[in-house]
Subunit: 434 residues, 2 copies
């Protein structure tokens, strides 16, 4: 029994107190967090400088260094993020449904926090204020484990934030652990941690998924498709395809494979090729599309299952919307897939049959994002088939409990000969217990 | 690669077709299932006779034999169950929310089936028609694996039901596997099976939970409490306590531990003891309650963590509602816990702080049940903290997808200098694509 285990067990017990806090207390704690970041800027930037120095001496790449670096502008962003969480409606204690089982026996479904959330992340220290503020507002405790390269920054941010709230809320429901071995502790505490949110590379997320029996919210891959239908408006098709590929190729909602109906291939592909070449996109083609794509190479079988996250695109010609959908369900990652069409039947078929979190019609795959979806703050993007799917906001940190309000009713009166019947009348009653 | 694996992979692919079926087709298939059971009564009872004969020769207990036996009355129940699913509203394709991200760019959250459900169950062959009808109506495929002792009955029921629908829906999305080794196959197919529903003993459910990375819907224990508060109406307390313990002690929502506030212990306990003794309940007491419970024995530490499922009760005196809640959160199984009180503060405290799926006020724990909760048909009872909690009906077989309907919008117009702002206006639009 290490100290880490008892810290986490304690966080779980304390998180139940968070669950019962009134909104004004939680909002006061959030304002204190924002304030504390503001007055601790030099402390945070100093801690970050140590991480950056270590990272440079270890030869970390430019992109990684940029993600790791914290400056005044990034702290402004963290503060604005916390303030935006204050503005979100308190999701706890909402009556989701109500039903009179009988006179004087009413069943309420009440929203409540999940409990203790484990957040395991690589670099990007802004995860700490973002997730901690979302968890506090939704009444959940958090166990953080950050990447080694950001140790000093994460520790400083966490300490500043936790100390800021320690006189307002049960702060020991927030824990940060630092050593690599402790990741295994987190993954094994399935009686204590209710949900894991991994933030990092695909390999990282897959490792977490495969090494725990705790539910994991996230996605391990983003192999997104655009299908240009026989009845596509080609003007829209060119613009949406280009944006889906090159607007930001390094992320999970960028397109990796373009499917084109054979009836428009000759009109659509040559100009598409030209646009992609102007942006230095490497194109890998199936035999049917290759003749239309000057300078392209032939795709291998592996290409259809590859997330490039780069200026590379695979292209394939299909005969029907059914073939496109079958291909997407087989080779995609159930993340985000789009159809470009003006045909209502093909639109409906695509919407009803593509088994993905996000199914788009005549819009760029790059819209798959919590902010763009109007969620305010994003917990992550999920390709799970239960609980939360697609971009997930604070609602992904909630579950419900059933509250039955009676006057001494017993089940024996409702069973057997002469049983009293249930009424089961749904209604708009609300339970007010705060 | 066994045949079982390819059958299951095929079921997964075929289940996507179920997801897109119109309601009338699914209801026609359900009516055909009910009809087929009715005309196959002798076939089913004959198959069941073989299982019963084997079971008797292997010395199976009376209770198990009763659960295994299928007679005309049980078949009537199966048929009525299927017909009640016809009456349920089609849960697929509902618009759960809608939001204009911008003019002509609308995001819909649409309910859809989870995909392929794995159902692993011990005896009770009525699971087959019950779950198959719920999955068909909700557009999910199913892989069944039943207990060895019911092999003939399960096979017969499954074949009758699948054959009945094979000209109406993609019937290969329903699979039954029979050998014990194939359970491990099911548990390992996490890329293919989206949700597991185990139905059986606690040990059985726990084995499933610990041996798969597929999400599991269920509960491994039901250690339920009744807390008799200082401000309890003792008349209600006696009735509710007795019902929670003896109305049907063998099930998960029966009370196992009674907590009593010390201020009412002397008035409440002696009569409670008398009522329990009249029903031959063995009582195990903490030192504080023991003097009030004539004929009771002293409880051991293990008693507080034991699900008896029998005419046994542990009893403990506590000083405050806070102590009661702390005890329940520590020793309970987060299933169903009740408070008996007339005090609004204690009621609120209990509701907000007990971390259980079902939290009852002045009502028997035995009300925790899908039918009593008005769900029509029950998938199971879940103590999970994500997706579905408490008694779960057909809604537990559903997830959603986000459908974005655009007119060629691209993300580049919404980022950087001069970015077009999002509108994010929630509205009542509905997507009709069936």
């Amino acid at each position: 029994m290490t100290d880490v285990v008892s810290d986490i067990r304690n966080a779980k017990a304390e998180s139940r107190k968070l669950a019962a806090l009134p909104t004004d207390i939680k909002d006061a704690a959030l304002m204190a967090m924002a304030e504390a970041l503001d007055v601790s800027r030099s402390l945070i930037i100093e801690a970050n400088a140590k991480d950056l120095e270590n990272a440079r001496s270890e030869g970390l790449g430019k992109v990684m260094l940029k993600r790791l670096a914290v400056d005044d502008a990034k702290i402004d962003g963290m503060i604005a993020g916390i303030r935006s969480v204050v503005a979100l409606k308190d999701p706890v204690g909402d009556t989701m449904s109500a039903m009179d089982l009988d006179d004087g026996l009413t069943l309420y479904q009440i929203s409540c926090p999940i409990g203790l959330i484990g957040v395991i992340f690589e670099s990007r220290p802004d995860v700490v204020p973002q997730i901690m503020s979302l968890c506090l507002k939704s009444g959940n405790g958090v166990v953080f484990k950050g990447g080694r390269e950001a140790t000093e920054t994460n520790r400083c941010l966490f300490t500043v934030l936790r100390d800021a709230v320690s006189n307002i809320v049960p702060a020991s429901s927030f824990v940060m652990i630092e050593t690599r071995e402790d990741v295994n502790t987190i993954l094994s505490l399935n009686d204590c941690i209710d949900l894991l949110i991994p933030r990092g590379s695909n390999e990282f997320v897959r490792f977490i998924q495969q090494n725990t029996s705790i539910p994991v919210l996230g996605h391990a891959a983003g192999i997104c498709h655009v299908y240009v239908d026989s009845d596509a408006d080609l003007g829209k098709a060119w613009e949406v395809t280009l944006d889906s590929k090159i607007q930001y190729p390094a992320v999970c909602n960028a397109m990796e494979t373009l499917l084109v109906n054979r009836r428009v291939a000759d009109r659509f592909l040559p100009k598409m090729n030209q646009m992609l070449r102007e942006h230095n996109v490497e194109v890998r083609c199936d035999p049917m599309s290759l003749p239309f794509m000057e300078g392209a190479v032939e795709a291998s079988e592996d290409d259809w299952d590859t997330e490039y996250n780069d200026y590379i695109l695979s292209v394939k010609v299909v005969s029907t919307v059914e073939e496109a959908v079958g291909f997407i369900n087989t080779h995609g990652s159930h993340h985000t897939d789009a159809i470009i069409t003006e045909n209502p039947q093909n639109m409906s078929y695509f919407i009803n049959n593509v088994d993905s979190a996000d199914v788009f019609v005549n819009a760029s795959t790059r819209f798959a994002d919590g902010f763009r979806f109007g969620k305010g703050a994003e917990v992550g993007i999920s390709t799970n088939k239960i609980h939360s799917r697609g971009p997930v906001g604070m609602e992904g940190l909630m579950i419900y409990k059933y509250v039955l309000m009676g006057g001494g009713q017993v089940v024996k009166d409702y069973v057997g000969d002469g049983a009293r019947p249930f009424k089961h009348i749904s209604n708009d009653k609300r339970l007010e217990v705060r």
